[in-house]
């Protein structure tokens, strides 16, 4: 399944990372274009590095915690993308479990809020 902007113009939910193996593969191999498909537009001059780990040995998802490290010169900022199926990864990011439901908009909004905050920090407007 090709991940694209949806018919109504809205960007894809970040939940697609955990439901679409092809999208996840693209995110892991080249984060910036895939993030753009999620509506997280990282400026060209900002590089993106991905730090991945697995919250718990029993997690369904490999890379159940993704950290996107945004770098511009010596400045950096970051945001996380935890799996809704990993209580451990969510607790690592939020200090508690937000959801256990795939596609929960609460988690999607949280990830987007953190991504926007990271981009603002890098812009010096946070």
């Amino acid at each position: 399944m090709a991940a694209q902007v949806q018919d109504d113009g809205a960007t894809l939910s970040t939940g697609i990372v955990w439901s679409d193996a092809e999208f996840k593969r693209r995110l892991l191999s080249g984060p910036k274009p895939a993030l753009r498909e999620l509506g997280i537009a990282v400026p060209d001059e900002v590089s993106v590095r991905l730090v991945t780990s697995k919250g718990a040995p029993g997690d369904v998802d490999d890379h159940s915690l993704m950290q996107f490290v945004l770098e511009r010169g010596d400045d950096f900022a970051h945001f996380f993308l935890p799996s809704p199926r990993s209580p451990c990864a969510q607790q690592a990011v939020y200090g508690r479990i937000l959801t256990k439901r795939l596609g929960d908009p609460l988690l999607d909004r949280s990830i987007r809020a953190d991504a926007e905050a990271a981009l603002r920090k890098l812009d010096g407007t946070a």
């Binding site: 780990s53 697995k54 040995p57 451990c88 690592a92 939020y94 200090g95 929960d104």
Partner: protein
């Protein structure tokens, strides 16, 4: 770890040595997080009200003469080790300055071995070192023998467990489940709630481990399970220990600041807040109980948490920490803790799963 209060000459020497590491002997410019770390080290670890500054350059000429006590020398080398990984990399040229300082001061510390391996990218070797420290601690003799390694591996391979282990596990589980019946605010009840709130299997339950010290440290320190708080916890635990302090501290910095996968579990990069981090370490250093050797959880399970923390001389969570660390849900809250459960300091209001919209916390 022992806190010291150096005299002005000693302070200047230590700070110059810290800048020597941050600048790799004057070859690179220290970055902001390193400079803030040097200031926070002075405030919390060296007990200075007014931190001094220095410039990048080589180690000071008076390193040996100014640092004239073993305590001061050891603490200095340990602080230099910490600083060498704070830039999110583990640059061999910074580690070389640390090693040079350690040689000049005649200090050998187990942390230096970990740091050398980190500089070479030998993460698995580091994991083995940390595992050995753990099995040493777990051993009744305090030194890991073949029998202790056997016990450890046995617990790591539950598929080998038979009926006898299953019976022992049921008994162990029942004992820990009994903590739920203790009054709210007691150590035992607070520990039980920590396990339940974070969906961690109690000892004896399937997919559990039979040791509780990591969770005990969480409950005593009040630092939660967010990654930033886990980093603070490693500082706190390191502060409480002496011989093995750098195991904890370097593990935390490598895992959560440098993004190194040393053992399984979550990792991250660049989470260090120097002020919070070194305050947590100093809190741990002020504790007046040895939680590593001969300490028995069951002997204090019924003690009230506030009383226990006072008995152990643990400094309270500061208001700054409550705002800052509580702001990302990095503090444990509710009964047994100094932050009320309804304080809702963070951006995510506590509540049942999937409940309510995501609203920023009020300023």
């Amino acid at each position: 770890m022992k806190l010291v209060r150096p005299n002005p000459e000693q302070l200047n020497t230590i700070v110059q040595a810290l800048y020597a590491v941050a600048s790799a002997a004057g070859t690179v410019a220290p970055i902001p997080v390193e400079i803030r770390s040097i200031e926070a080290i002075q405030r919390h670890m060296l007990q200075q009200d007014a931190p001094v500054a220095a410039a990048g350059g080589p180690l000071p000429d008076n390193l040996e003469s100014a640092l004239d006590t073993p305590e001061l020398r050891r603490l200095t080398v340990r602080l230099l080790m910490m600083l060498s990984v704070i830039d999110r990399r583990v640059r061999p040229e910074k580690v070389a300055v640390v090693e040079q300082a350690a040689r000049r001061l005649g200090i050998e510390d187990r942390g230096l071995g970990i740091l050398r391996r980190a500089a070479r990218g030998q993460n698995k070797r580091i994991a083995l070192t940390l595992m050995k420290t753990f099995v040493d601690w777990w051993s009744p003799s305090g030194k890991a023998g073949l029998r202790d390694w056997g016990r450890f591996l046995w617990w790591m391979l539950p598929q080998l467990h038979g009926a006898g282990t299953a019976r022992k596990n049921r008994e162990m589980l029942a004992r820990y489940q009994g903590l739920a019946k203790l009054p709210e605010g007691t150590f035992g009840h607070t520990l039980y709630r920590f396990y339940a709130d974070h969906e961690i299997a109690l000892p004896g339950a399937p997919k559990s481990v039979p040791w509780i010290m990591h969770e005990v440290y969480h409950v005593i320190s009040e630092y939660g399970v967010a990654l930033e708080a886990e980093l603070l916890l490693t500082a706190f635990v390191g502060g409480t220990q002496e011989e093995t302090c750098m195991d904890q501290i370097l593990f935390g910095l490598l895992s959560y600041q440098a993004g190194r996968q040393i053992v399984g579990g979550v990792i991250s990069e660049g989470l260090l807040d120097p002020e919070d981090y070194f305050r947590a370490m100093a809190r741990g250093a002020r504790i007046q109980v040895d939680l590593v050797h001969g300490w028995d959880f069951w002997a204090v399970a019924e003690v009230d948490m506030a009383e226990l923390r006072a008995r152990y001389n643990l400094p309270p969570i500061s208001e700054r920490e409550r705002r800052k660390v509580g702001g990302y849900n990095g503090l444990l809250t509710g009964s047994g803790h100094s932050t009320p459960a309804d304080a809702t300091p963070g951006p995510f209001a506590p509540g049942p799963l999937d409940s309510g919209p995501l609203e920023p916390a009020a300023a």
